[in-house]
C-alpha cells in the first residue's frame, strides 16, 4: 500500500495505491495520525488506485471519518471503482461518506 499526501489550497489530498485490507489497514490508520493531530479539516481520499477494500479497510475509513468529525473536519472520497463502490453500498456506508466522482470536484466543493 502506497499513501501519498499533498496539501492543495488548504485541502489535504490523500492518494492511495493498493488494497486496503487486514494487512494494510493499520498503516492506513497510522498515516492519518498527523492529519488528525494538526486538525486538518478538509480531507479528500482518492481511491482511484485501490482495487479492493475489505471490512477492516472500510472500518478504518469510518474510524478516520470519526476522528476528523471530532473537531469539525470533513472528508470526501473520490474515484471509487465500481467494485469498491459496491462494497460501500452493501455495508450501507455509501450513506455515511460523502462520495464524489472526481478529485477535482471534491476539492472545489468544501
Amino acid at each position: 500500500m502506497q499513501i501519498n499526501m499533498e496539501d492543495m489550497n488548504g485541502v489535504t489530498i490523500v492518494r492511495m495505491n493498493g488494497d486496503i485490507d487486514i494487512n494494510s489497514a493499520p498503516d492506513v490508520k497510522k498515516s492519518f495520525d498527523t492529519t488528525v493531530s494538526e486538525k486538518k479539516d478538509k480531507v479528500v481520499i482518492n481511491l482511484k488506485e485501490v482495487g479492493y477494500v475489505d471490512s477492516s479497510g472500510l472500518a478504518t475509513l469510518v474510524e478516520i471519518l470519526k476522528n476528523l468529525r471530532s473537531y469539525g473536519g470533513k472528508l470526501k472520497l473520490t474515484n471509487l471503482s465500481a467494485k469498491v463502490k459496491g462494497l460501500f453500498e452493501i455495508t450501507k456506508l455509501d450513506k455515511l461518506f460523502d462520495i464524489v466522482p472526481e478529485e477535482e470536484d471534491a476539492v472545489g466543493t468544501f
Partner: protein, 266 residues
C-alpha cells in the same frame, strides 16, 4: 466457455474409524462463488467430509485441496494461513459462554490481526448489522435464542472476510421460521459478499432454498451431484426417498442382520 475456479477439491477420500469405513472414495469439487449443499441422512459421513475439507481431521487415504493448497498432510500450525481465508459455522454455534456477543465475534480479529480496538469495534457493528443483530453486542450467549446464537456464529464466521464459509447443520434445532431466516441469511451473505458456501444439512427445505448444487451422500459415497432441478428430477430411488422423507424405499434405517437371535442367546 470460461473454466470455473475450483476452491475445494476432494480426491478419492477414504476415512476409517476403527474397522468402520465412514467415507469410501469421495470425489467432489467446490467452485468459487457457488453454494454447494452436502445432504444425506444422519451418520452418512457428511460432517466428517466437511471436517476433512477444513483440515480438522486427516483421511485414511485420498487428498484434500483447499484454495489451491494440498492440506492433506498438514497439521494445525501449517494450516493457519489458509484457515484465515475460511470461516466455519458450527452446528452448536460454538460460542464462548463467558464472552459477550461482541467479544465472540471479535475473537478471530484479535487473534489474527493487528487492528486497533476502535477499528475492530466498527467491524463488529458492521458484521452484526449484516446478520440483523446490531444492538445485541453486550449480551451473553445464554441471553439469546437458538436462532440468534446461530447468527452470532455466522457473524464470527465472516469476521475475517473469508473466501469460503463452511456451515455444519446451520438450521438444526431451529423452528421452521427461524430456519428460513438463517437460510435467507446464508443466501444473502453468499450473494452480497460473493462468498463460496459449503453447507452440510439434512433439512430438505434448506437444501432447495440455498443450493446452487447439491451432493447427496449415502453410506460414505457421493450418490449424485447436480443442480437443485437435477436432484429433484433424479431417477435414483435413494435420492427420491430422501427428498420425500419416505420410510419405505431402498434406504434402510435399521440394518437387517440375520444373527439377531444368535446374538440374544450367545
Amino acid at each position: 466457455m470460461e473454466e470455473r475456479e475450483v476452491v475445494v477439491e476432494v480426491k478419492d477420500l477414504v476415512k476409517d474409524f476403527g474397522d468402520r469405513t465412514v467415507l469410501n472414495g469421495i470425489d467432489l469439487k467446490v467452485y468459487r462463488g457457488e453454494t454447494l449443499v452436502i445432504m444425506g441422512g444422519s451418520g452418512c459421513g457428511k460432517s466428517t467430509l466437511l471436517r476433512h475439507m477444513i483440515g480438522n481431521i486427516k483421511p485414511t487415504s485420498g487428498r484434500v485441496e483447499l484454495l489451491g493448497e494440498d492440506i492433506t498432510d498438514r497439521y494445525d500450525a501449517e494450516l493457519d494461513n489458509v484457515r484465515k481465508k475460511i470461516g466455519m459455522s458450527f452446528q452448536s454455534s460454538a460460542l464462548f459462554d463467558s464472552m459477550t456477543v461482541a467479544e465472540n465475534v471479535s475473537l478471530p480479529l484479535k487473534e489474527h490481526t493487528n487492528l486497533e480496538q476502535s477499528v475492530i469495534d466498527i467491524m463488529i457493528t458492521m458484521k452484526l448489522e449484516l446478520v440483523g443483530l446490531r444492538g445485541f453486542e453486550d449480551l451473553l450467549p445464554s441471553e439469546l435464542s437458538g436462532g440468534m446464537r446461530k447468527r452470532v456464529g455466522l457473524a464470527r464466521a465472516i469476521a475475517m472476510d473469508p473466501q469460503i464459509v463452511f456451515y455444519d447443520e446451520p438450521t438444526a434445532g431451529l423452528d421452521p421460521i427461524v430456519a428460513s431466516v438463517v437460510d435467507k441469511l446464508i443466501k444473502d451473505l453468499s450473494e452480497k459478499l460473493s462468498i463460496t458456501s459449503v453447507v452440510v444439512t439434512h433439512d430438505m427445505k434448506s437444501v432447495f432454498a440455498i443450493a446452487n448444487r447439491v451432493a447427496m451422500l449415502y453410506q460414505g459415497k457421493v450418490l449424485e451431484v447436480g443442480t437443485c432441478e437435477e436432484i429433484k428430477n433424479s431417477k435414483n430411488p435413494m435420492v427420491q426417498q430422501f427428498i420425500s422423507g419416505s420410510f419405505d424405499g431402498p434406504i434402510h434405517f435399521f440394518q437387517q442382520k440375520d444373527d439377531y437371535l444368535e446374538d440374544l442367546t450367545k
